[in-house]
């Protein structure tokens, strides 16, 4: 440990200017995020890119300073303990990259009124997850290269291999089977890359097998890229992460006992029906969310198959419904087939707040505020920074009424807003708008003492794809 600290101090002397730059970037990002939670603009995406590039370059330079890949490095014939050398590098990365990331997130949480101690564990885990790709790849590639030029070349080559193989695989597979964002990069497919990277770092510092390790990194990237489009890996990941979840037990069908509701016309080209959906076998504490493209067709005895115009699978106060828009037809009963891609989300309530104007305290999770940027669209804006896996969904409920913002990761900018600069899947500082606004419902809710907002975390546990068939869909005029 003494030697590791000695090497660490040397590296600080060597790289303090680069550390200052990276810390400055984290600070700028943190301030921008803080402004965003106060309804300011989002940080420019280029800032997150700069942080990523800055961190990767710093890690690569740090490793090249005492490179294990160099043919005849200075340290190899000096009394260095190899594990002390690795420990010194990891300590440096922890102090100058991971710590600023963590501190930046904690400060934003504090600013947003989040109970930091209550969320410390999840925030730490979350930031460790970010470190997996912000730090680990640079660590693995930096360990088997000797210059920044070589580092950049190998990084580009690995990324290119990853995307080429994934692209090639997707061209030859039925990707419609992928039903959730969780399928895109799943645990099983990422495993070869993660294990290879960890193994590469450890083995390179222990035994300096540069050529072998370079080759194994390339093989691991190609293997991971090949596994991503395979359905088996996605379902295996789901089973590992959610051992009790069995997608085959979930049965979904149109509920023929409830008549279809005519909803609205589709630009004069068709009609939209809201059809009740019967869901059985859904695990307790989970809901269904539509993800990805749906497809379907209608056909009748008199007309051939025609593609449906739109399909929206939604959760309502009456249960699940499928809003299907189909082309105009004078035909006799139509048979409808709708293939829906759904994500099963586990739901955890986070806070229940009275539905009233002004600032609301969302338990340990920060503050929310009812704001009305446009007359027709009342929003509930929350500066939440709670580290969650999955998304936060807001709902307005009172007896006989329940509406939830239907989209995952919904916010005022139409995209996800990450807390940490590298996060993809984390909610914070977003605002919620119910479909078509909450104006009327909110006006009514304000007059009711029993109305309340519900904030809940929705986390994907698996994906399913089902074909729903409605045998006799009758148009109002054909009924006549």
């Amino acid at each position: 440990m003494k030697q590791a600290l000695h090497i660490f101090r040397k590296d600080v002397s060597r790289f303090w200017p680069q550390c200052v730059v990276v810390s400055f970037l984290f600070a700028i990002y943190g301030m921008a995020r803080r402004q965003q939670t106060d309804q300011g603009p989002s940080p420019p995406p280029v800032l997150a890119a700069l942080i990523a590039i800055g961190c990767w370059l710093l890690i690569a330079s740090l490793l090249h300073e005492d490179s294990p890949a160099e043919a005849c490095p200075f340290w190899i014939t000096r009394p260095y303990s190899r594990m002390s050398l690795l420990s010194a590098k990891l300590l440096f990365i922890s102090v100058f990259i991971f710590l600023p990331l963590l501190v930046s997130d904690v400060l934003i949480e504090v600013h947003s009124g989040v109970n930091v101690s209550a969320t410390a564990g999840t925030l730490l885990l979350f930031d460790l997850g970010i470190a997996l790709w912000l730090i680990l790849p640079a660590l693995a590639i930096g360990g088997v290269t000797t210059s920044l030029k070589m580092f950049a070349g190998m990084t580009i080559a690995l990324f290119a291999a990853f995307y080429l193989v994934t692209d090639l695989m997707f061209r030859h597979l039925d990707i419609s089977a992928l039903a959730s964002p969780a399928d895109m990069i799943n645990l099983v497919s990422a495993l070869p890359m993660v294990l290879a990277a960890i193994g590469a770092v450890w083995l390179q510092y222990r035994a300096r097998k540069t050529q072998w390790i370079r080759a194994s990194l390339i093989v691991a990237v190609i293997l991971s890229a090949s596994l991503i489009p395979l359905n088996g890996t996605a379902s295996l990941s789901t089973r590992i992460l959610n051992p009790g979840f069995d997608p085959d037990r979930i049965h979904i069908s149109f509920d023929d006992t409830q008549p279809p509701r005519l909803d609205y016309t589709f630009s004069g080209r068709g009609l939209c029906f809201s059809l009740a959906v019967k869901v059985e076998g859904l695990p307790p504490g989970t809901v269904l969310r539509e993800f990805g493209q749906t497809s379907g067709e209608v056909r009748s005895a008199m007309a051939g198959p025609r593609e449906i115009l739109r399909s929206i699978f939604e959760e309502t106060i009456d249960g699940y419904r499928d809003l299907v828009c189909i082309p105009n037809s004078t035909a006799a009963p139509e048979q409808l087939r709708d293939s829906v891609s759904l994500t099963v989300m586990s739901v955890t309530p986070i806070a229940i707040m009275p539905a009233r104007a002004g600032i609301l305290v969302a338990g340990n999770s920060g503050r929310c505020e009812v704001v009305t940027p446009f007359p027709e669209d009342t929003q509930l804006r929350c500066g939440l920074q709670e580290p969650l896996r999955g998304s936060l969904v807001a709902g307005l409920e009172y007896p006989g009424y329940r509406v939830y913002a239907s989209s995952r990761l919904l916010n005022s900018h139409g995209g996800s807003v990450p807390l940490s600069p590298m996060s993809f899947d984390k909610f914070d500082g977003t605002s919620f708008t119910a479909p078509n606004g909450w104006q009327f419902e909110f006006d009514e809710a304000l007059a009711r003492p029993d109305a309340h907002f519900v904030l809940r975390n929705e986390r994907p546990v698996g994906a399913i794809r089902r074909d729903l068939v409605y045998r006799e869909l009758v148009f109002p005029w054909s009924k006549k």
Partner: protein, 299 residues
Amino acid sequence: MNYPIRCVDLSKKFRRVQALDHLNLEVPEGAIYALIGANGAGKTTAIKTMMNIHEPDGGSVEIAGKDSRHMRGHDFESIGYVSENQKMPEWMTVDYLMRYLKPFYPTWDDGAAAGFIRKFGLPGDRKLSQLSRGMKMKAALASSLAYHPKLVVLDEPFSGLDPLVRDEFIEGLMESAEETTMLISSHDLAEIETFASHAGYLEHGRMQFSEEMSSLSARFREVEVTLGEPTGLPGNWPAEWLQPQTSPAVVRFIDTRFDENTIGERVRRLFPRMTDLSTRAMPLREIFVALAREERRAA
């Protein structure tokens, strides 16, 4: 006798190139061993294998009785290694380099370090990147001698150094010579001859000879035979007599197994009309050139 370096049947291959081919080498304790050989003979590979920079494909190296493959960290506390191929932390100043290395060595001697810096005329506040090649080598040597290593391994330390720097470098080495064993690979045979106690000649990864300098200089002689009348070379020319040259009445060659008691008799057997015989001791450089030429001729 103790041998701080012992290579037994050491082999190393780089793809198709056999860099070391069953190399056997023993460096006795207290020796200053000169490892000589033409470019590509395998000197640097041998040294890097000894230092566990390369792993041998066959055979073994023992450094102070320990298999080189198992050498780690603290084994280098008593070994000094200087090579022109080694990457140095160029951003460090000379003083910082010394301060940085000190905690790694329990036997670090501040007085010795300061002495070497003074002797070599190294500017303490100058970064290594701003030093000339010779100064860098001197800084590397100072940082490798300041802890009184028991074994010093130098890979081509003199190449490219001007005569003044070379002399200072050698003087620095000689200050530590009494307490250490040294292995030096070099082309600078004229310099090495002045202080080496042993020499080994490497050719195509194999050790051709390895012996004390005194016995080496004793067994190599340039021989000049004056004849009464012009005579060609006889057919039964001994293999140990290299590079025979004839002029009408003179024959010159290099005897690689010189024995002053028998040389006269052996020459007379081939040249009965010999009128005069003279021999001249050869410097290491000439021995090396003769052997290298012979090697090329044989190839």
